[in-house]
Amino acid sequence: MTRVLEILPVEDCFDKDLMREITCDEPIDEALIARFEKNGELEYFKDFPRPYFKFSYHHVCIVQGVLGNRTMRATLSRSASSSVLEDIVQLIEKGELHGRQAEEVLRVG
């Protein structure tokens, strides 16, 4: 199973304190994309030169990436709770989630 090696903030033109780059120990494959599909809304563009996916987790985190890359990009919404990235890591590494409800991934207050 894929392991997450590091998660780093992405510096960008904007104040991107909500954007992270997730680096894995192996390239993103179809199996990982299928795991995303089971656990949220997935858009998968297989016909692109390098297939591209976009996974939305309870509308508080968008993960996007390309088949074959070791990195993917996660964009958190301001309302995301701190546990959301842990959920994404668990999904990547273990292929399953806690089964949290939407309200559980929202920041309180």
Binding site: D12, C13, R50, P51, Y52, N69
Partner: protein, 382 residues
């Protein structure tokens, strides 16, 4: 992903590839025993070829009017801080097209010297009407600053007309040629009044990153950086002579050697010819993108594409996502976001996300344009 196979369309940030002679010049500079201007036993000042070629490119009367700096940002700061330091308060005139390398020094000038800046809006074509200066110029105006070409839209500004006006009012005029140097002709010797020109070395002049410069009329500005110059060391104050008055510290000789080679390349090819090449690619891309009603191009006065920039947004995609897909999936390197020019996006309707910018250089071909147009056709269904 192996970036060497990218279709590189981010030349407005940094030109790539560089002419072979630039690589060779940098390598040669590093391989030879160091010789520094004023500090070595060699008679030849190693920075002189660079100054001479830049002076020729910009039609500057004397090479010592070309100051070599680590970036256009340093050059812009030198003029803005120098002008405001000597005459605090009052006002500056600039435009909403400017890069943060102009806006931030002006806004810090507001804090430090109490100088207010008025930012002029471009017209619908993306151009500043030179006559709009007349509305705000007065005896309290300390400086006028305008880009020669917007780094967001590529739109070329009438800086020659502006210089006529600022000269009439006796106000110094700072032209930011970061995006236009090597792309658009600027005849410094024909500009009246006290004109300064800041330029980047790593874009249209094909030099390495970390190079740039300033063209100035005289030594009247207060230097913002002082230090060793290798000559007149007995003086405890910065020497008055040009160019060392504004060049404290050990120069970036490998970078300067590369910039000299880049300037030589531009002189040989000719600014007009290089500009025509960029213009033809820009017109081709704009013509293709205009066919798609869901792609919205930024304004470009007279469709003049000599600066080599096409910027746009596409319905149905955030600029961040579209830029990511173009790069990672299609292998086309563009730039997305605000491009460090936050004020213009409100004017052209691309706030808050900014836009996608594709920018071409001497080494791009119609094939690069076709690849981007094809990718956008697939991504943005009309």
């Amino acid at each position: 992903m192996d970036r060497s196979h990218f279709n590189y369309l981010n030349n407005a940030a940094t030109s790539y590839p560089k002419p072979k002679r630039v690589l060779e010049a940098v390598q040669r500079s590093l391989q030879e025993p160091p010789s520094e201007p004023g500090r070595s036993r060699q008679n030849q000042d190693p920075t002189l070829p660079c100054r001479e070629r830049l002076a020729k490119l910009f039609h500057v009367p004397a090479p010592n009017q070309v100051i070599l700096t680590p970036s256009a940002t340093v050059a812009l700061n030198l003029v803005i801080a120098g002008c405001l330091h000597e005459h605090p308060k009052g006002n500056c005139l600039s435009t909403r097209l400017e890069h943060n390398s102009v806006i931030r020094p002006l806004e810090h000038g507001r804090k430090r010297f109490g100088t207010q800046t008025i930012y002029l809006d471009p017209d619908q074509d993306g151009r500043i009407a030179s006559s709009s200066l007349l509305r705000y110029l007065d005896k309290e105006t300390r400086l006028v600053v305008c880009t020669q070409a917007s780094n967001v839209t590529g739109c070329i500004q009438p800086v020659e007309e502006m210089a006529e006006i600022t000269a009439e009012y006796g106000v110094p005029f700072l032209i930011d040629a970061s995006q236009s140097a090597g792309c658009v002709e600027l005849k410094y010797n024909e500009l009246p009044g006290q004109v300064y020109v800041a330029f980047a070395g790593h874009k249209g002049l094909f030099g390495p990153m970390g190079t740039g410069g300033l063209i100035l009329p005289d030594n009247s500005l207060e230097p913002i950086l002082t230090g060793g110059t290798g000559i007149q060391s007995e003086s405890l104050l910065q020497p008055a002579s040009l160019p060392i008055r504004y060049e404290a510290g050990t120069p970036n000789l490998p970078g300067i050697a590369g910039l000299a080679a880049g300037a030589e390349f531009v002189l040989e090819r000719g600014i007009e010819s290089l500009g025509m090449h960029r213009d033809s690619l820009v017109r081709s891309l704009r013509e293709k993108l205009t066919r798609n009603p869901r792609i919205h191009l930024s304004p470009l006065a007279d469709s003049d594409g000599r600066a080599g920039v096409v910027s746009f947004r596409a319905e149905g995609w955030s600029t961040e996502e579209l830029g990511f897909i173009l790069g990672e999936s299609f292998g086309i390197e563009t730039r997305h976001g605000l491009h460090c020019a936050p004020l213009i996006h409100k004017t052209i309707g691309t706030e808050p996300q900014g836009n996608i910018r594709a920018s071409v250089s001497a080494f791009n071909t119609e094939d690069d344009i076709l690849k981007l147009a094809d990718a956008l056709e697939r991504l943005v269904k009309p």
